[in-house]
């Protein structure tokens, strides 16, 4: 018997796949490629908002940006990394518990995790400002119980900013983790215990590797968002906690220094791409492929 060799696409005409890719392609072109090229072009322009900016291929803005704001770049990546790690440590047990022990209330628990989204992001952050204030109930109670020395303050410290970032990112970490853990075949876990693996070993050798796609997605989602965040630093931070997002906002809105704002954004994007690339090379691609082929 002869197999029908021509593919489905062949029968519908060669253009079909391209036609199907058109909406997505147009979307990327319009809302991704053009803005990025525009930003890159502006970063190489010189001038001022009054007389206009001309493309002069002036790369100097990049070195100025790095020398002036290197600290804030490093700080943003540092805060981003710490808050992502912290969110992971908090979110994993949550996701694990809901997936394995949530029973028929799983959707309720997930709903509870999403509940904070019903309140504006800025208001939630402002609420932390109120809770953590010097004369607020948390610090005054701890001070009265002599658990912390008098005059301790939490607001305006790096800790407050990182805690805010972690808090705001939590749902973005829980959801992908939950999806990945939920998909794990329980029989595999049971098989591990049947083969005399202790629960800890079963978790480390079976559950954790199988949830890798969720970990990968969660890390990306949270890390990229948090590195560029500026709201937490401006509400919960103080001197010395300024993140690169705050600098970009200020160059754009206050200083009207568009080349600087664009150069900063481009550097931030490039930095994120490099980190993501390295991360994907080290952890992502291999585990994802293993997972896909498994």
């Amino acid at each position: 018997m002869r197999l029908a060799v021509p593919s489905a696409a062949g029968r519908r005409g060669r253009g079909a796949p391209y036609a199907l890719a058109l909406p997505g392609g147009a979307w990327l072109l319009l809302f991704f490629l053009i803005p990025i090229l525009a930003a890159l072009s502006v970063s190489l322009q010189t001038g001022n908002p009054v007389n206009g900016f001309q493309l002069t291929w002036h790369f100097g803005e990049y070195s100025t940006a790095i020398s002036m704001y290197g600290t804030q770049f490093v700080r943003s990546f540092e805060y981003g990394a710490i808050s992502t790690g912290a969110a992971f440590l908090i979110a994993y047990p949550m996701a694990y518990w809901i997936a394995f022990h949530g029973g028929r209330h799983k959707s309720t628990y997930l709903f509870l995790i999403l509940l904070p989204f019903f309140v504006s992001f800025v208001i939630r952050t402002l609420a932390w400002q109120f809770i953590l204030s010097d004369q607020g109930f948390v610090l005054t109670t701890l001070e009265k119980a002599h658990l912390i020395p008098a005059g301790t303050h939490v607001l305006s410290t790096p800790f407050a900013v990182i805690a805010g970032l972690t808090y705001n990112a939590l749902p973005f970490m829980v959801l992908p983790l939950y999806v990945a853990i939920e998909k794990i075949d329980r029989r595999v876990v049971r098989a591990a215990t049947d083969l005399f693996a202790r629960p800890a070993t079963a978790f480390l050798r079976v559950v954790l590797p199988l949830s890798a796609p969720g970990i990968f997605a969660g890390f990306l989602l949270v890390f990229v968002t948090n590195v560029g965040d500026y709201v937490n630093a401006s509400i919960l931070g103080g001197p010395g906690t300024t993140m690169i997002g705050n600098i970009i906002q200020n160059s754009y809105l206050n200083d009207l220094n568009y080349p600087m704002a664009s150069a900063l954004s481009s550097i931030l994007m490039a930095g994120l791409l490099i980190v993501i690339f390295l991360y994907a090379r080290t952890f992502g691609a291999a585990t994802l492929q293993e997972y896909a082929s498994a």
């Binding site: 502006v42 009054v50 206009g52 992001f121 607001l155 709201v231 509400i235 103080g238 754009y252 809105l253």
Partner: protein, 417 residues
């Protein structure tokens, strides 16, 4: 932020609601202006592939207009589109009594809206339209004196006022509001409300009276001093601390001021560089002493924090003004002038001041409020004393973008590092 929701209560804390001269961050707002900007950059930056066109070009085009002749041709239309800051006009049960009276007296219907959250993002929003030579849809906008206002004037984006139609302004405006340094001869603007930037503090926490700008540098208040993240405010207080008048300061003075501000920061004295949220930090007790806007302290006193005090330090205070102006291409300029003139009647100014609690540009409103609402009539924060007026300093007016850029370069690192 919750304060962004305008409510209908009669005396709901307007100070919390409006951003004054400082940016108040909300994600939506930032995205909106960033979006507008990105769209502008996209079109001119990539499609035209050459650059972002400057704002000066439009100004030159308009400098040849004979405005006296232009005004003669304009007619009253019976409509006024008025853009203001949130909770910045008298409000009662969703109505604005002063605007209703204006309608009764002149037949002009006012479309009152509150789209202005801060000067920077509003300027970012309207400038592409003005640059394209189109109407922004408002006949009156309210902008604080500062770089954005200077830009609007320099770009030729404001219609010079016809002073013959503003007799009440000349009759009733206080001397503080005539011929300001940022708009000589009130060519383009008349004041809406104004205020002072001085020092606010909580005497219980500082343990003593505050009299000097130097107190912001007192190591005893380490970690509890609030400074403003608006670099104009920050730089100006640094200049005052050195005994320099900001209005006539020079670049060398700016550097000196930056040095002492940096020192203040490095010693850990500054708790945070605040936007509008400083008032909350002061109420919460996070900061004991802070740079403060007069109206905020008045509002805080009236709403649960009676202990807080506003002082005019011996080095002086900064005086800022929110100004009404008519943007270029406005559809109803005569109606706009009619409102400006109407507002400057003491009776109307008193009604607005009674609700808004900032400084009214019409000193004669005091007599009216002494009878109708003495707590406001007596307040030096609404009707400043002559001693306060004498201590008032004006901000430096940037002559061009390079100066503005220099100022930013001097003071931004203090806030941002």
């Amino acid at each position: 932020m919750s304060e962004n929701t305008p409510e209908q209560h009669d005396h709901l804390d307007p100070a919390l609601v409006r951003g004054l001269t400082s940016p108040r961050y909300s994600r939506a707002q930032f995205l909106r202006s960033a979006g507008a900007g990105a769209a502008g950059l996209t079109l001119s930056g990539v499609l035209a592939a050459c650059g972002v066109s400057g704002t000066a070009a439009t100004g030159k085009k308009q400098s040849g207009t004979d405005w006296a002749a232009w005004w003669k041709k304009q007619k009253k239309q019976g409509v006024l589109d008025f853009a203001n800051w949130p909770l910045y006009i008298d409000t009662s049960h969703g109505q604005h009594p002063s605007l209703n009276q204006f309608h009764k007296a002149t037949g002009i219907t006012v479309n009152y809206s509150e789209p202005i959250q801060d000067n920077q993002s509003f300027y970012a929003k309207i400038s592409p339209t003005l640059q394209a030579g189109q109407s922004i849809g408002y006949d009156i906008i309210v902008i604080t004196n500062g770089w954005q206002l200077t830009e609007l004037i320099d770009n030729g984006w404001l219609i010079p006022l016809d002073h013959s139609q503003l007799p009440n302004f000349y009759k009733y405006a206080g001397p503080l509001f005539k011929n300001p340094n940022y708009d000589p001869g009130n060519k383009y603007t008349v004041a809406w409300q104004s205020g002072f930037t001085g020092i606010g503090y909580n005497p219980k926490l500082t343990g003593r009276e505050i009299t000097s700008v130097q107190d912001l540098w007192d190591p005893k208040f380490k970690g509890h001093v609030g400074m403003m993240s608006d670099n104009t405010e920050l730089g100006s207080v640094g200049l005052l601390a050195l005994g320099i008048d900001p209005a006539t300061s020079k670049v060398s003075d700016w550097n000196k001021a930056a040095k002492i501000l940096q020192k203040q920061r490095n010693q850990g004295i500054v708790r945070q560089y605040y936007d509008q949220s400083y008032i909350k930090a002061l109420e919460n007790g996070d900061v004991w002493i802070t740079q403060a806007w007069s109206g905020d302290i008045f509002q805080a006193n009236a709403s649960g924090s009676p202990d807080l005090k506003f002082v005019v330090p011996k080095e002086g205070i900064m005086h800022w003004t929110d100004n009404m102006m008519i943007p270029m291409h406005a559809s109803h300029p005569v109606d706009a002038l009619a409102w400006m003139n109407f507002y400057y009647q003491p009776k109307i100014a008193a009604e607005v001041a009674d609700w808004v609690n900032y400084i009214t540009p019409v000193p004669d409103a005091k007599q009216i409020l002494m009878k109708s609402d003495p707590s406001v009539g007596k307040s030096p924060l609404v009707f400043p004393t002559s001693q306060m007026k004498a201590a008032a300093h004006e901000y430096y007016v940037f002559q061009n973008y390079n100066e503005y850029n220099t100022w930013n370069g001097v003071f931004n690192p203090i806030i941002q590092s």
